[in-house]
C-alpha cells in the first residue's frame, strides 16, 4: 500500500520535477521566476495537438515541431520582451512574465475555446504493469522514464558541453562570463529556449492525465514552484529532488489525510519552507547584496 502510494507519487513528482527544473534554470540566470512558463508549455502542447488532430501528422513529427516551436517561443520571449524592459527591476520583470502569461492564456482560449480536448498520447493511461504488489500504468512508467532521461540529458549538457558550462558561468556572474568571452545575450536567450522545451515535455506528459485546455498547466506550475522552493530555487538538482519529494508527500497526504485538499499541500509546503528555511532543503544561503 505504502509502496503503491510512493510509486504514483513519483509519477506525478516527475512532472513537478520537470517544471521545477525549467523554472530554476531561468531563475538562476535572471533571478526572475518565469510565471509564463506554464502557459508557454500549454501553448506549445496545443501546437502538437493541432498538428496531430487537425493535420494528421504523426506523433513523433508533431512532437519535433512542438519542440522547435517551444524553443523559439522561449528565445523570442526573452529577446523581444524581457530584454527590452526599460527598468529591469525584479518587480517589472515579474510583471512582464505575468503579462506574457495572460496574453498566451487569452490567445489559447480565443483560438481553441474552453472545450476539453483529449490529447492523443501514444502511451495509454489505462494499461497497467505489475511489479509484485505494485501496479503502475504504462503512462506513469513512460512519464518517470522520459523525465529521468530528459533530466540526465540536461544535467550532462550543463556539465560536459562548452555551451552548458558557458550557461553555468552566466548564471554565476554575467559580467565575469562576458569578460571571459561568453556571448552572454545569446546564452540567456538559449536558457529560455531550453527551459521552454523542458516545460513542453512536462505539458505533454500532463495532457493525457487530464484534458487539454488553457488552464492545463496552472496546477503543475504551482507544484513546480513548490518543488523548486522546497529543494532550493538556486540549485537545479535540489529543485528536481524537491519536485519528486512534493509528488510523494502530496500523494501520502491524499491517501491518509484528505483527497479533496491534496492540492493545498503545495501551498502549505511553500509557506512552511519559506518561513523556516527560505533557501530550500538543498540550497545554500547566497551572500546578501546591498
Amino acid at each position: 500500500m505504502l509502496l503503491q502510494i510512493v510509486a504514483s507519487g513519483l509519477s506525478s513528482g516527475s512532472i513537478y520535477a520537470l517544471v521545477a527544473l525549467a523554472l530554476v534554470i531561468t531563475y538562476k540566470t535572471t533571478e526572475v521566476p518565469n510565471f509564463a512558463q506554464g502557459e508557454m508549455a500549454m501553448f506549445s502542447a496545443f501546437v502538437a495537438y493541432v498538428l496531430i488532430v487537425d493535420y494528421n501528422v504523426g506523433f513523433v513529427v508533431a512532437f519535433g515541431a512542438a519542440i522547435v516551436f517551444a524553443f523559439l517561443l522561449g528565445v523570442g520571449f526573452e529577446g523581444l520582451f524581457l530584454r527590452r524592459t526599460k527598468n529591469p527591476t525584479h518587480l517589472n520583470l515579474i510583471i512582464m512574465t505575468l503579462g506574457f502569461q495572460l496574453a498566451l492564456f487569452g490567445l489559447a482560449g480565443w483560438r481553441w475555446g474552453a472545450d476539453q480536448r483529449q490529447f492523443p498520447f501514444p502511451v495509454s493511461a489505462s494499461e497497467v504493469v505489475r511489479f509484485g504488489d505494485i501496479t503502475v500504468s504504462t503512462l506513469s512508467l513512460a512519464t518517470i522514464s522520459i523525465a529521468l532521461v530528459l533530466m540526465a540529458a540536461v544535467f550532462a549538457f550543463f556539465r560536459f558541453t562548452k555551451l552548458g558550462v558557458a550557461m553555468q558561468a552566466t548564471q554565476q556572474d554575467p559580467m565575469a562570463a562576458r569578460i571571459n568571452g561568453v556571448p552572454v545575450r545569446a546564452v540567456v536567450a538559449l536558457t529560455f529556449g531550453i527551459s521552454s522545451v523542458i516545460g513542453l515535455v512536462a505539458a505533454l506528459l500532463t495532457a493525457p492525465l487530464i484534458t487539454l485546455d488553457p488552464t492545463l498547466m496552472w496546477d503543475p506550475l504551482l507544484k513546480g514552484f513548490a518543488g523548486a522552493v522546497l529543494g532550493g530555487m538556486n540549485t537545479p538538482v535540489g529543485a528536481v529532488l524537491g519536485g519528486y519529494l512534493l509528488g510523494v508527500v502530496e500523494n501520502l497526504f491524499g491517501a491518509y489525510v484528505s483527497v479533496e485538499f491534496k492540492s493545498a499541500v503545495a501551498f502549505l509546503i511553500i509557506v512552511i519552507v519559506l518561513w523556516f528555511r527560505p533557501v530550500g532543503l538543498f540550497g545554500r544561503q547566497p551572500p546578501r547584496k546591498v
Binding site: K86, Q101, A103, F105, G106, F261, F267
Partner: protein, 362 residues
C-alpha cells in the same frame, strides 16, 4: 516645484489647499448626479468599476508604495465576500456588521500572509501569494459551509431602515465607500506610514538604517491592502447577489495586479484610472460583440480565424499586452502619460507666451 509641496505640514493636511477642496466638491457633485443621468443598466457597470477601484487602492498601497507583489488578491476578495455572506446567513448579522467583519477577517489573513513576506523578497513572495490565491479557491470550492462549487446566494441586506436593493442604492453605498477609501489611501500615502512604505520599496536596507521598522510596515501594508480587498469582496457579493469560487480565479488576481501597473505604480490617481479601465475591460469581456464598431469586427475575425466561443478571451490578451507594453514603454503607466501631457502643455504655454513677444520684437 512649488513651496507647498516641500512643506511637510501642508503635505499631511487632509485637503491641501483650496484647489483640492474645489476638485473634491466637483467630483462628489458629479458622482452624486451620475446615476440619474446615465441609463439604468449602466449603473451596474459603474458599481463594478468602483469595486475594482477599491481593490486597486489596496494594490497601490502594497505594490506601488511598498514594492511587494501579490498574485493572490482575488483570494482576499473571496475571503471578504464569503465572510460577509456567512455573517449574514449563519449569524444573522446586519450588513453594517458584515462589511467591517469582512474587512477584519481579510486583514487578518493579509497579516498572516505578510509574516513570511518579512523574510522574503519579490520572487519568493510572488510564489507564496500565488499559492495562497489558489489555495483559497480550492478550500471554498470543497467546503460544504461555503456551498462548494455551486456557491452561495446572498441574502437581502439593509442599512438600518434603508433597504439595500436595486442598483441605485448599491451605487451610493459602493461609491461612497470608494471615495472615503480613496481619501484614506491618499492620506496614508503622505504621512509617516506612506513614507515608510516607499522607503522600504526603494531600499529595505537603507530604510532599516534610517530607523524604519521594516517588519512592522511590510506586514501593515499587507494587512491594509487585504482589508481593502475584503471590503471590495463584501460589496461585490452585495451587488451580484450570488458568489462562487469561480469568480475569484487566479486570472482575476492577475487583473488586479494589471490595473495598478497599467494605471501607474505608486500613484493613487494612476491606480484609480487603471482600475476604472480594467474594471470596464473585465466586465465587457463577456459581451465583446456588443461594443460598437470594434465588437462586430472582432466577432467576424473570431468566426473566421479563431473559435466563436472563445471571444471573451480577447480581454485577457488585451490585459496581458497592456501590462507588457506599459512596462516596456512607460513604466509609470497612465499616470506617467498624464505627467508627460502636463509637461508638454506647460511647455507649449510657456513657448506661446515668450514666442508672442519674440515675434513682436522681430
Amino acid at each position: 516645484m512649488t513651496s507647498r509641496e516641500l512643506d511637510h505640514y501642508a503635505d499631511v493636511q487632509l485637503l491641501p489647499g483650496k484647489a483640492a477642496v474645489v476638485k473634491l466638491v466637483v467630483l462628489l457633485a458629479v458622482l452624486a448626479v451620475l446615476p440619474f443621468v446615465v441609463p439604468g443598466y449602466r449603473i451596474f457597470t459603474l458599481n463594478y468599476m468602483a469595486i475594482f477601484v477599491i481593490v486597486g487602492l489596496g494594490m497601490s498601497i502594497l505594490v506601488g508604495d511598498t514594492g511587494q507583489v501579490s498574485l493572490g488578491h482575488a483570494g482576499f476578495m473571496a475571503i471578504g465576500a464569503y465572510t460577509s455572506v456567512l455573517a449574514m446567513t449563519e449569524l444573522g448579522a446586519p450588513f453594517l456588521i458584515a462589511l467591517p467583519a469582512a474587512a477584519l477577517v481579510s486583514a487578518f489573513f493579509g497579516f498572516l500572509l505578510g509574516l513570511p513576506a518579512l523574510r522574503l523578497d519579490g520572487p519568493y513572495l510572488a510564489i507564496a501569494t500565488l499559492g495562497f490565491g489558489l489555495a483559497v479557491t480550492l478550500i471554498i470550492g470543497h467546503g460544504s459551509l461555503f456551498g462548494g462549487h455551486m456557491g452561495l446566494v446572498v441574502p437581502e441586506a439593509s442599512l438600518g431602515p434603508l433597504p439595500l436593493s436595486g442598483d441605485i442604492s448599491h451605487y451610493f453605498l459602493i461609491v461612497g465607500i470608494t471615495v472615503v477609501l480613496a481619501v484614506a489611501a491618499r492620506n496614508l500615502g503622505v504621512t509617516r506610514v506612506g513614507r515608510a512604505f516607499r522607503a522600504i520599496r526603494d531600499s529595505p536596507i537603507a530604510a532599516e538604517t534610517m530607523g524604519v521598522d521594516v517588519a512592522y510596515y511590510k506586514t501593515l501594508s499587507f494587512t491594509v491592502s487585504a482589508a481593502f480587498a475584503g471590503i471590495a469582496g463584501s460589496l461585490l457579493s452585495l451587488m451580484n447577489g450570488f458568489i462562487s469560487p469561480g469568480v475569484f480565479s487566479f486570472t482575476l488576481s492577475l487583473m488586479f495586479l494589471a490595473m495598478v501597473v497599467f494605471g501607474g505604480l505608486g500613484s493613487i490617481t494612476g491606480a484609480v484610472l487603471g482600475s476604472l479601465v480594467m474594471g470596464y475591460v473585465n466586465l465587457r469581456m463577456d459581451a465583446v460583440q456588443e461594443i460598437p464598431v470594434l465588437g462586430p469586427a472582432l466577432q467576424n475575425f473570431s468566426d473566421a480565424f479563431m473559435s466563436p466561443s472563445g471571444l471573451p478571451n480577447v480581454g485577457w490578451v488585451l490585459t496581458g499586452l497592456m501590462i507588457m507594453l506599459t512596462i516596456m514603454f512607460e513604466p509609470r503607466g497612465l499616470y506617467g502619460v498624464w505627467l508627460r501631457v502636463e509637461d508638454a502643455l506647460r511647455w507649449l504655454r510657456r513657448r506661446s507666451a515668450s514666442g508672442g513677444t519674440a515675434t513682436g520684437a522681430g
